[in-house]
């Protein structure tokens, strides 16, 4: 780059500045992507593979959590009561919640909201739900279907659906999603 700089024309200098700007842009975006767990923005695709870092990124030895965003919201469902819907999806979801509760898994709120929304699409359905967030806050909704924010979800998964992982359970669920039975073995 030094050799090039010495014989650059003005147009080439502008071009070089543009190139450097683009490099900085890509670097910055990628660094933010990698720092995202500590900002409470996202955990997936942040190069945390096999690291043992918790989705809430609070077990790092020296880098502090800077919760600018709060998408790292996990919850443990203490009770759920679905009235109205009788679909296979509802049954599978209830089985999943039960399994997560028994194995002490936290469910990500985005994942929870996705399924609540799906169940709520059935007419005359109401869901009373109580959960405790990872940060020990108790939340109760008498009718989650009537609470818009409990039905708003992101379609890109920024965090693992469960913690500890529930990929095996989700796999079994997906296999039985055609209504051939509940997903639990």
């Amino acid at each position: 780059m030094k050799k090039i700089t010495s014989r650059l024309k003005p147009r080439e200098l502008r071009f070089r500045a543009l190139s450097l700007g683009l490099i900085l842009l890509f670097d910055s975006l990628y660094i933010i992507n990698c720092l995202a767990p500590y900002l409470g923005l996202k955990f997936n695709f942040s190069q945390t593979m096999y690291s043992g870092l918790l989705p809430t990124a609070e077990n790092h030895l020296f880098f502090p959590k800077i919760p600018i965003f709060q998408y790292d919201s996990y919850a443990s469902i203490t009770s759920i009561d679905i009235v109205g819907s009788e679909t296979v999806h509802r049954k599978n979801f209830e089985s999943f919640v039960e399994s997560a509760r028994n194995s002490g898994q936290f469910i990500h709120l985005n994942f929870l909201k996705y399924h609540l929304d799906r169940i709520c699409r059935e007419e005359n359905t109401s869901i009373a739900i109580e959960y405790q967030t990872y940060w020990k806050r108790r939340v109760y909704h008498a009718d989650a279907c009537a609470t818009p924010r409990m039905r708003q979800y992101s379609f890109v998964q920024l965090y693992p659906s469960c913690w500890p992982t529930c990929l095996d359970e989700l796999t079994r669920w997906a296999r039985k999603a055609d209504g051939s039975g509940t997903w639990q073995r």
Binding site: M1, I4, R7, L8, R11, E12, F15, R16, L18, S19, L20, L22, I23, F26, D27, L29, Y30, I31, N33, C34, L35, P37, N44, F45, S46, Q47, T48, M49, Y50, S51, G52, L53, L54, N59, H60, L61, F62, F63, H89, N92, N110, F111, Y114, Y153, S154, F155, V156, Q157, L158, P160, S161, T165, L167, L170, W173, A174, R175, A177, D178, S180
Partner: protein, 368 residues
Amino acid sequence: MGNRMSGGLRLRSFYVLLGIGCLAHELQFIARQYRWTGSFRLHLEKWGEVSPVFTVFPPMIGLVVHVVIFILALGLIVTRRQQIIASLLAMIVVLSLFTIAPPGISNHYIVVTFALLITATFGALSHLAIKSQGPGTYQGTTEIADVALFRALKHLFVITYFFAAFHKLNEEWFDLTKTAAREFIVPYITPLISLTRGNSTDLIHATVAVGVYATLAIEFSLPFLLLWRTTRILGCLLAVAFNVPIMGQGVVDYPAIVLAFSPIFFTEDELQSLFSQLLSNLTMVRLSIATFLWMYIYLCSPDKIMKTTWQVLNHTGGYSLVAFGDVLLRQGLIFAWVYIGCTFVQELFWNVALKVRSTHDVAYNPNS
């Protein structure tokens, strides 16, 4: 635009290896969905029941995206117009981010996405320079675009390794009973433990402890080795060698990226020399010996324990040591490339072909 960018052999090698990585990724995906449902469409539909990912696009879009990625990846390997194909692939890969099944977008996939976006951006920049300045006057600007492209790709790779190490500075990584390093280390030392009379738990802990700290040391040193001109080849080799045990556990995606990025850290002359030496040593005899040993190891080993044992032998140099022993003595660099190349191909085959066959009997049956 074509191959006008003067990245030459380095860029072509990068594209070819990236294309192989993308093909491996797609083949693995096909294998996974095949042993699941036997139907691509059913696979996508069923995940859509569980995950919010697929609600944006209907499954047919997901199918088309995967087919296009497969075709473009093939194009990266076999055609000369890699820059254009890489730009198209960048667009389709970004689209595919919204059609990915749980557990969501993977780490290696985002590296590929960034790499493709970088190549597409600087390719477009180079194209813009040519268009705006007319024939014969664009060399300066295209040269700048080339230098910037390689710099951006190097940064991407270096930042990836830095954060791979940085995230590991947590309590769980250093806990010898929980650390993810166990997954990679224990299968390799298990056959050896049976040969010793010592306490197996102590031996496992000691080995895992070495693995935990060695991994951190390697991953933290790699960014610096790769950025420093005199140590970049060493860094490159270290990165490739470090990924061999990971391949041994059937994880091909990340090592494929490491392989793809390797040529970027060489100069054109170094890479040319490497390929010349490699090709001049690639005789039928060597290939036959390597193929025979590989087939023996993976197809004829009688049981799982033997397979693990043979994996250990394989990954410490096994067949390559025999087939390319003299090359190893003369030129360590060539050995590394041949060894890694062969390992990659065999793992690819192992993952796609054999796993499909062996797991087909437990594949999902809608009537069960």
